[in-house]
Symmetry: C2
Subunit: 334 residues, 2 copies
């Protein structure tokens, strides 16, 4: 059996994702479509709006055959490591194609990956962020600047595939309309960014035309989760834990826990997650890096646990249809 993979977060699943699945069905009619999806927590260090079971069902209803989870410790990572995790999961499931959206689907991602294969950068520059250092190193190796988020992610997939899945066929498809970080729903069309949909999640009628039936039902029926829900717990944790206890948390480095605690103790009780994070933020500890760190803190994820997950990778199945089930049983035999 032939299989095609997509690495996704589906936060939540919307018409842009549906377009991608339809595209796969059209171009690879006989393929089994496997989604490697983040679980209850996302790559950027925040809770998913709906839990992984709800989002897996949305994908299955939309035409996916099998949905598996990218394990938490491997998912909540900078883009290049997230890409490695997704590619590794799909490779373990014997996927032949990797389909992904890109702002520039005309790029030859395999070629770009080879050019940037030996990419190194000095992570010890204390006044520049990881992401900025990475982009600069990419520019130097491929000869031009890659700035769009999905292009960068595509390159990261391609770079991961070079070592983890050298025979993987990379299939970039042109991203539609909506910008990745658009906050507002567009006035025309049926495709909006997941960000814009989440911003309007409490007004189901407004988002109806941008999502399928299952997601629309979930938006009406499920409680959506944001950092606002976790903030009282993180706040409590930071106020009661000792710096020594926080030092065991995955990603805690350079004594940043002192700053995390201090900025909370100094602030009024009304301070919210976003305002706190902006106070803690430095050039080295960016908003996203701190979000991941905050998530590891509130979930009490230790460095040892994440290292364990990297050392013993596993795949958790979230859902499948008949095709997916059949595919799994053939894979099992291998």
């Amino acid at each position: 059996m032939h299989a095609t993979g997509i690495i996704a977060e589906y936060n939540p699943f919307h018409n842009g994702h549906q377009y991608q699945i339809n595209w796969v069905k059209e171009h690879f009619p006989a393929t089994t479509l496997i989604i490697a999806m983040s679980g209850n927590y996302l790559q950027r260090g925040e809770p998913a709006c709906f839990d992984k079971w709800v989002r897996a069902r949305e994908a299955l209803q939309a035409g996916a055959d099998l949905v598996v989870e990218i394990p938490f410790g491997l998912c909540m990572q900078p883009a290049d490591r997230f890409a490695q995790s997704g590619v590794a999961v799909l490779q373990q499931l014997g996927v032949e194609n990797l389909v992904f959206g890109a702002e520039h689907s005309n790029y030859d991602f395999k070629d770009l990956a080879q050019k940037s294969q030996d990419l190194t950068w000095d992570y010890q520059q204390y006044n520049i962020s990881y992401a900025a250092l990475y982009q600069q190193a990419v520019k130097e190796s491929v000869g031009f600047e890659i700035t769009q988020p999905n292009d960068l992610l595509g390159l990261a997939y391609a770079r991961a595939a070079l070592t983890l899945a050298p025979t993987l066929n990379l299939v970039p498809i042109q991203r539609q309309a909506a910008g990745y970080h658009d906050q507002k729903l567009p006035t025309g069309g049926h495709i909006a960014s997941a960000t814009a949909i989440r911003q309007n999640i409490h007004e189901p009628d407004m988002v109806k035309k941008f999502v399928g039936a299952q997601t629309w039902m979930d938006i009406k029926q499920e409680n959506s989760v944001t950092w606002t829900n976790l903030w009282p717990l993180l706040r409590y944790r930071l106020l009661t834990a000792t710096p020594e206890q926080l030092a065991t948390i995955y990603g805690m480095a350079e004594g940043i826990q002192y700053r995390m605690q201090e900025q909370l103790q100094l602030a009024p009780v009304s301070l919210d997650f976003d305002a706190w994070l902006k106070k803690v933020k430095t050039k080295r500890f960016t908003y996203t890096r701190l979000s991941r760190l905050a998530l590891a803190t509130v979930l009490n994820i230790s460095t040892a646990e994440v290292e364990q997950a990297w050392a013993h990778p596993f795949v958790r199945i979230l859902g499948f249809n008949r095709t997916g089930q059949k595919y799994l049983s053939t894979q099992k035999k291998k």
Copy 2:
């Protein structure tokens, strides 16, 4: 200057406490009245209804001259250790009299203390609670049963004084009307138990006649705190901490943390603090012992921290009037 001490929790301060203060003023007109009070958390392992500053103000308004805090780690203890803590604090402040309410003010507490001086009991009996073992040992040494809570506390004060403050004058006064654990407000009189007052704290008009002006204002204006407020935090802590991390908590013993976590994981999300505690309860781990343990857990108090507090006792001043201030300055010179 002559000083009289009272060991109290004032949860909240009410007419029964006022009666006690008036009694002291009447019988020792020239004395400085010092209250050794528990802080934001009480001896029995629960949050005080109002914080320590609010309750200290209630006592000062009622005629106390100086209010000091029994340090947290020394306060959240079984009755005999709580008594030691209170007596030690008052002894450090040079108090001559200790006034306390008793169900039997006719008991000769000093004599009872001497008879039970060498009280020992086998704490290793795994099917009987600490309190039951203690009461049994008391009965054997003094020759009759002491069962009322304030009588037992009075004996504990007397026993603590034997070694910590041998010259301390013990002044038991007869407790008025209300039973210590009465849940209902009485229909007659002006004295109700603190328990009954807390039960009706959201109906200020009902409790008005049982409290003074300051407490009545606090009941109307302050947010009162119970385990219900702390429960989501404790729940979160128990769900995210490892058993190894919980083992460092003060009072954690015999692997009880596994049972604390298990009974939470097995239960529906709707389980409240009281229902959870009753599921965890055993003969050895009584309701009150578990409440203290739960409090140490939610506040992340380690064994090392409490041992530090016992080894380096200190007194925190919560409030005073002119008399109290003058008393403190004379004590400072000593």
